[in-house]
Each structure stands twice: as structure tokens, then as C-alpha cells.
């Protein structure tokens, strides 16, 4: 170990470059893992973390909440289905809202006509809405008592003001500040932004099963209740939203490629270093050093270098998660850090086995014949 440490001290630049390469790769992997999770949460957190176990879309919506429209016959078919405990009409759209200082911003507004159904499962602060115009807001975007107004789009329309009385975490939709309110307020917002609207139909029906009815069983019954119905469990509705699968697939390819680069870089480095010092290693073997001692020394260097790379990479990642990106929340994920650290360390050690094999194959006799020089 003494020799291993000494060697690293004397070749700081070389080992430093490897630490830097591994650190950057670790940072990239973890940053993109956080980006994937942050993006998906910002896209569909409002579906994943709402209280209705089942959401019924129209087949036409293609599993996009805003794209689905529930005509009255479909709503009746859903309500008539055996096993439905509670059912709420659910409307959702994205609006331009005016803040008290006059500036404009975007907000997704979700409205439901049954209290406690299709609302955030838990509040991080404040209270649930009790009267029309009150809302629970995504806590990354709103503060308690914030007020926003959906402006009237014409002289025949009335503006609608929403007051934030409660906050909830991870409930954004479509990477937009999100407000959960009652259906009447939502419908008023639609008419404020489009006075020509002839009818405001719900986008989905939020359903809670009757006592004793399983969620999966109910979704099957609901989908069978009408050829227009597409009933999904809460997690299915989140995971099968348009774009979610593509985001996951794209990131998986990226992770695979980065995951391959780390062990290759580590393996290449230690193989070259081993080749370069094979003369010295042969001499050490001739002086009585056992092959296993030299191999352990090399593996010690791998652990130190990959470990340092991991520490620097995780530190960079931790700094990134403290930066406010505005539209997206990047969180420090200890599980991701642990999984990737173990995986990359294992891959790094695995990739160094070629160099270890070379060390173990060194024949001390070569020191007397001039071999082992490279």
C-alpha cells in the first residue's frame, strides 16, 4: 500500500486526470438521473400524487389528461358501473394567469366536483379549499395566500381569481405551476379565457372504488363499460402519459453509454500504467514481493481513484441539486448515489482485472534476462 500511495503522490497529474474524468462521468450520470426524475415528476406528479385511485379517460385522449374529453354518455356509463364508490368530474387545462403585480404567467388548473377526490394526497402546508376560488398549489411555485387571476378574454367574460390556501409537493402537471380547485371555479376559468366555449366537458372521471372492490378489478370493469372508456390506475395514468415512456427509454440509453465509459476509462488507465511499470514490478517480484501483494496494491489504487471520483462527482451533483432551476426541481437522491457508487466501483474493479492478471503473470526470472520491460 505504501508503494501504491507513493506512486499516486508522485504522479498527481496523471491520477488527477483520471479522478477528474470519473468525477465528471459520475456527475453527468447523477445529474441526468435527477433530471429524469425531476422531469417526470414535473410532467405527471399531479396525477401520481392525487387521491383518486382510478382515472377514466376517453379513448380519444390517448392517455393525456388535457386531451381527453368525457361526453355525457361516457360519464353515465362510468357512474353505472358496479363497484364505483365515488366518482368526480375532473377538468384540467393550462391558463395564462395574472399575478397581483400585473405580470403574466402560466398555471395548470385542475378542478373536481367531489371534495377530497382528485386532490393532492398530502399537503405540505395550509389547508384544503372550502369555498369556490380557493386552491391547493404546487409548493415549488406558490406560497400560501398567493392570488392569481385568469383574465377575461373579452368584454363578455368575467375574470376568475384563485387564492392559494394550501400547498402540496410534487403535484405539477406539464412542467407548469399547478392549482387544484373545485370544478365550478375551473369551468369559470375556461369561460373567462374563451367566451366562445359552448360547453365545458370534463377531461376525466376520477373514481374511488366501493369498499371491498379491488382497484385493478374496477379498472377492468370500467374499461369494459363503454368502448369509449380507458380506465387506468393512478400509477398507470402517470406512467403511460404521452412522452413518459420515451423520456425513460432515452435516459436508459444515455445511462448505459455513460455506464460503459467509466469502467473502460478506468481499465485502460490501469492497464497502461501496469504496462509502463512492468519492469519495476518484475524487479519487485524478483526481490520477493508476492504477486498477490502487487495485485492488492493495484486494486487499492483503483478503489482510491474511483472513490475520489465518486466523492467529487457526488459533491458536484449535490451542488447542482441546490441550484434553483425554476421550472424543475432536481433532488439529491441518496438511493441513486448508493446504487451508482456501488455499480461504478464494481465495474471499475472489474475493468482493472485485466491489469491484475498481467501483474500476476509477471515472472521474476525475467528480471535476470532483461524481460519485463514492457
Amino acid at each position: 500500500m505504501f508503494l501504491a500511495v507513493r506512486e499516486m503522490r508522485r504522479a498527481v497529474v496523471r491520477f488527477g486526470l483520471l479522478v477528474l474524468a470519473i468525477a465528471l462521468l459520475v456527475f453527468l450520470i447523477l445529474a441526468q438521473q435527477a433530471l429524469q426524475e425531476g422531469l417526470l415528476t414535473a410532467f405527471v406528479g399531479g396525477i401520481r400524487n392525487q387521491s383518486a385511485p382510478v382515472l377514466v379517460y376517453s379513448v380519444d385522449g390517448q392517455r393525456a389528461l388535457q386531451g381527453s374529453i368525457i361526453p355525457p354518455p361516457l360519464e353515465e356509463a362510468v357512474r353505472r358501473t358496479d363497484g364505483v364508490g365515488e366518482a368526480a368530474r375532473l377538468g384540467q387545462s393550462t391558463f395564462t394567469v395574472r399575478e397581483p403585480d400585473g405580470s403574466l404567467s402560466d398555471a395548470a388548473i385542475v378542478g373536481a366536483d367531489v371534495a377530497g377526490l382528485a386532490t393532492p394526497t398530502a399537503l405540505s402546508s395550509g389547508a384544503r379549499p372550502e369555498v369556490a376560488g380557493e386552491a391547493v398549489g404546487s409548493d415549488a411555485d406558490f406560497d400560501l395566500r398567493d392570488e392569481v387571476t385568469v383574465p377575461a378574454a373579452g368584454p363578455s367574460a368575467e375574470p376568475v381569481t384563485l387564492t392559494v390556501v394550501g400547498l402540496a409537493a410534487d403535484v405539477q402537471l406539464n412542467v407548469t405551476p399547478t392549482l387544484f380547485t373545485d370544478l365550478a371555479t375551473y369551468e369559470a376559468a375556461v369561460r373567462a379565457s374563451n367566451p366562445d366555449a359552448t360547453e365545458v366537458l370534463p377531461n376525466a372521471i376520477a373514481v374511488r372504488p366501493a369498499p371491498g372492490v379491488e382497484v385493478d378489478e374496477l379498472t377492468e370493469r370500467l374499461s369494459a363499460a363503454s368502448p369509449e372508456a380507458d380506465a387506468l390506475t393512478r400509477s398507470e395514468a402517470a406512467d403511460e402519459s404521452p412522452g413518459v415512456a420515451q423520456v425513460r427509454q432515452s435516459f436508459q440509453v444515455i445511462f448505459l453509454l455513460y455506464g460503459l465509459v467509466v469502467p473502460l476509462v478506468t481499465g485502460l488507465f490501469f492497464l497502461i500504467v501496469t504496462l509502463q511499470k512492468s519492469g519495476a514490478l518484475t524487479l519487485l517480484r524478483a526481490m520477493g514481493a508476492r504477486g498477490s501483494v502487487l495485485a492488492r496494491s493495484l486494486l487499492f489504487q483503483v478503489v482510491v481513484i474511483v472513490g475520489l471520483g465518486l466523492v467529487v462527482g457526488v459533491a458536484l451533483y449535490a451542488s447542482l441539486t441546490r441550484v434553483d432551476l425554476g421550472f424543475l426541481t432536481l433532488r439529491f437522491d441518496p438511493t441513486a448515489v448508493l446504487v451508482w457508487s456501488v455499480l461504478l466501483m464494481a465495474l471499475g474493479l472489474g475493468s482493472a482485472l485485466v491489469a491484475v492478471r498481467r501483474v500476476l503473470r509477471i515472472d521474476p526470472v525475467e528480471a535476470t534476462t532483461g524481460g519485463g520491460g514492457g
Binding site: R14, Q246, V253, L257, L260
Partner: protein, 370 residues
């Protein structure tokens, strides 16, 4: 340089692992870039196809097409602005489409129907008659042919496809292009909450006579009721476009730095290994810069080889990915820019070895016996 190339030919194994690593990095760069291009192409085609200078939204829409609403009075104000050559309405609605022969099908094609007046590239000057549309060519992969009738939305509103236009996807969906009348009728039947009056459109597409101040003049003429953007500005304002571009470019930037570090590391190690050899070469007259050019040549060759394999893999990936899966596009421009970035990283990475190559002392190198 000849020596460097000869070494590459005679000892390719020495450079193999570095080439594999750089190939992976090249593929990563091209995949990330291709993903960005694919995402942008599938969400901006309808705007890129506009043969116009400006897109005018209502000011409270925050540059969102679906939230914008422009009535006849505002349009008249815009038409009256000096420098405005032509004005056309634009409207859109996103709906699922079923094949005409199977109204009960649950296998829907995601479409966005545009109503237009000023023809974008590749579309007829006069919008197709009521109930007929020109479809984006991407929809052919979904089984849509000329003559196909699509039933749009829950109301199953029929529209007949009369032809195709290239590269006009929008929001990740294949577009259908019809008249404003077709758009209004389909919207009213399927999305009553988004229905608009007969003189209302979502946005105006404006051709100007070239004067720079027209956007400001339009917004002034409408007393702030509009927000006029250049087409490029409107593309950048589409949801997610600038964020996607910024995020991907940052990831690509850090990946290029990784490539630089890998090249630096590899050639620093090789240079250490060759110190004695460089000493001998210097002793017989080779200059430091000549030797460094050899190192750079090797880095460039290795990088070009890695880039070629990476580009081949990226093109194969592009061909292999089925339509509707990952939005990946391997364009010549992207592949070329990735190769250039890698070459710059490779040459910069070699610079780490420059000092060591120049510092080699021929006398002491020969003295150590090589």
C-alpha cells in the same frame, strides 16, 4: 508525422481501448444531439414550414398557440399596419384519429389539425376544401394514405387526406392541414370548450415588406392586444423548446469535456511511456514541435476513426428506431458538429502532453539507455 502514422498501423492494439472509449463518447454525443434534434423537429415543424415573417398572438396568451385568441377587429388592426404585406389566420386542435372504416377502433393516430390561410411550405396556396386535409408525411408510417378518411376526436368528424407535406410535425404529433372552416367545425364538434366564433383565430401569420419595426408597429396598432414574434422567436417560445435546447447543450458540453480529459489522459500516459524514444528522436534531430505534431496526428486519427464508427452506429440507430418510439434524428449537420467537437477536444487534450514532449532532454534520455 510519418512515424506516428506508422506506429498506428503497426501497433493498433495500443490504441484500441482508447478508440473504443472515444467511440462510445462519440456515440453519446451523437445520441444526445440526435435526441435534441428529434425532439425539436417533432415539435417545431409546423412553424419552421411557415413562409412568413411574423406570428402574432394575443398578448395574454403568453405566446401559446392554444391559448391565443384573435378576433376580427384585432385582425383588421394588424392588416392596416404599414409594412404588412399579407395576413393569414392560424388555428389548431389536437385530436386522435381513427381509420374511416373502423369508427370503433381503439388504435388511434395522434394528430394536430391546423386551419390555415397563408400557405406554409409545400401546401396549396388555397387551403383544401371543407372536410379535406393535407397530412404530414410522418403519418404515412401510421397507415395514412392519400384518399384515407380519418375520423377525428370523440365526435368522429371525418376528414379526407388528399396529399402529404414533409416535416410539419407539431408537439410530437403528425399534422393535418385544412381550411379555417374545417378547423372550426372539427373543434366545435369535439372540443366545445375550445370552440371559437367565425371571425376568431388562434394566431395570425404575417408576411411583411421587410421593415424591421413591423412587429412593434403591429403591437402598437392593436394597443397591446397582441404580441408579435418573428417565426424564429415563435419557435423558441414553443413549450419546452428553449429548455430542451439549453439542457441538452449543457450535457453535450460536459460530455465533450469528458472526451477532452480521456484524450489528455491517454496521450499523457503514452507520452510518459515514450519519453526515452522521444529523447532518441530529438538526439537525431527531431524537434519538440515535430514530435508533438505526431501526438496530435495520432489523436486526430483515433478520434476520426471513433467518430466514423460512432456516426455509423448513430445512423443505424436512426434507421432501427421504429416511428413513434424515441424521437431520434441523425442529421448530417449534427454528426458533423459532433465530429468537430470531438476533434477540438482531442487536440486540446493532447496539449496536456505538450510540456512533457518539449521538456524531453535528448542527452539524459540517451544516458538512461532508453
Amino acid at each position: 508525422m510519418r512515424l506516428a502514422l506508422r506506429e498506428l498501423r503497426r501497433r493498433p492494439g495500443r490504441f484500441a481501448v482508447a478508440t473504443v472509449i472515444l467511440t462510445l463518447i462519440a456515440l453519446l454525443l451523437m445520441f444526445l444531439g440526435g435526441l435534441l434534434d428529434g425532439l425539436l423537429a417533432s415539435s417545431t415543424g409546423a412553424y419552421r414550414a411557415q413562409e412568413a415573417d411574423l406570428v402574432v398572438y394575443s398578448s395574454e396568451a403568453r405566446d401559446s398557440l392554444v391559448r391565443s385568441r384573435i378576433d376580427g377587429d384585432v385582425r383588421a388592426d394588424v392588416e392596416g399596419v404599414e409594412g404588412v404585406a399579407a395576413v393569414g389566420g392560424l388555428g389548431s386542435v389536437q385530436l386522435g384519429g381513427r381509420p374511416g372504416g373502423d369508427p370503433g377502433s381503439k388504435d388511434l393516430v395522434a394528430t394536430v389539425l391546423f386551419g390555415y390561410e397563408l400557405a406554409p411550405r409545400g401546401l396549396p396556396d388555397v387551403a383544401p376544401p371543407q372536410g379535406t386535409v393535407v397530412a404530414d408525411a410522418a403519418l404515412q408510417a401510421e397507415g395514412v394514405d392519400a384518399g384515407t378518411t380519418l375520423l377525428l376526436g370523440p365526435a368522429r368528424t371525418p376528414v379526407r387526406v388528399t396529399g402529404f407535406v414533409d416535416d410539419t410535425r407539431y408537439s410530437g404529433q403528425g399534422s393535418l392541414w385544412g381550411s379555417l372552416g374545417t378547423w372550426r367545425a372539427v373543434t366545435r364538434a369535439n372540443r366545445p370548450g375550445e370552440a371559437v366564433g367565425d371571425d376568431v383565430v388562434q394566431a395570425l401569420v404575417v408576411r411583411t415588406e421587410g421593415a424591421a419595426g413591423v412587429p412593434a408597429a403591429i403591437d402598437a396598432a392593436t394597443e397591446g392586444a397582441t404580441d408579435s414574434l418573428t417565426v424564429a422567436g415563435a419557435i423558441e417560445a414553443l413549450p419546452g423548446v428553449s429548455e430542451q435546447r439549453a439542457t441538452f447543450n449543457q450535457i453535450i458540453g460536459v460530455t465533450v469535456v469528458v472526451a477532452l480529459v480521456v484524450v489528455a489522459l491517454f496521450f499523457a500516459l503514452i507520452t510518459v511511456e515514450r519519453t526515452a524514444l522521444y529523447g532518441i528522436l530529438k538526439a537525431i534531430g527531431a524537434s519538440g514541435p515535430t514530435l508533438f505534431v505526431g501526438v496530435v496526428t495520432q489523436a486526430v486519427v483515433v478520434t476520426l476513426l471513433a467518430s466514423a464508427v460512432g456516426a455509423g452506429a448513430a445512423v443505424s440507430l436512426d434507421a432501427a428506431i421504429p416511428p413513434g418510439a424515441i424521437p431520434f434524428e441523425a442529421t448530417t449537420g449534427r454528426l458533423t458538429s459532433s465530429v468537430i467537437l470531438l476533434l477540438v477536444a482531442a487536440v486540446a487534450g493532447c496539449a496536456f502532453s505538450l510540456r512533457r514532449v518539449l521538456r524531453v532532454d535528448p542527452a539524459s534520455a540517451i544516458g538512461t539507455g532508453g
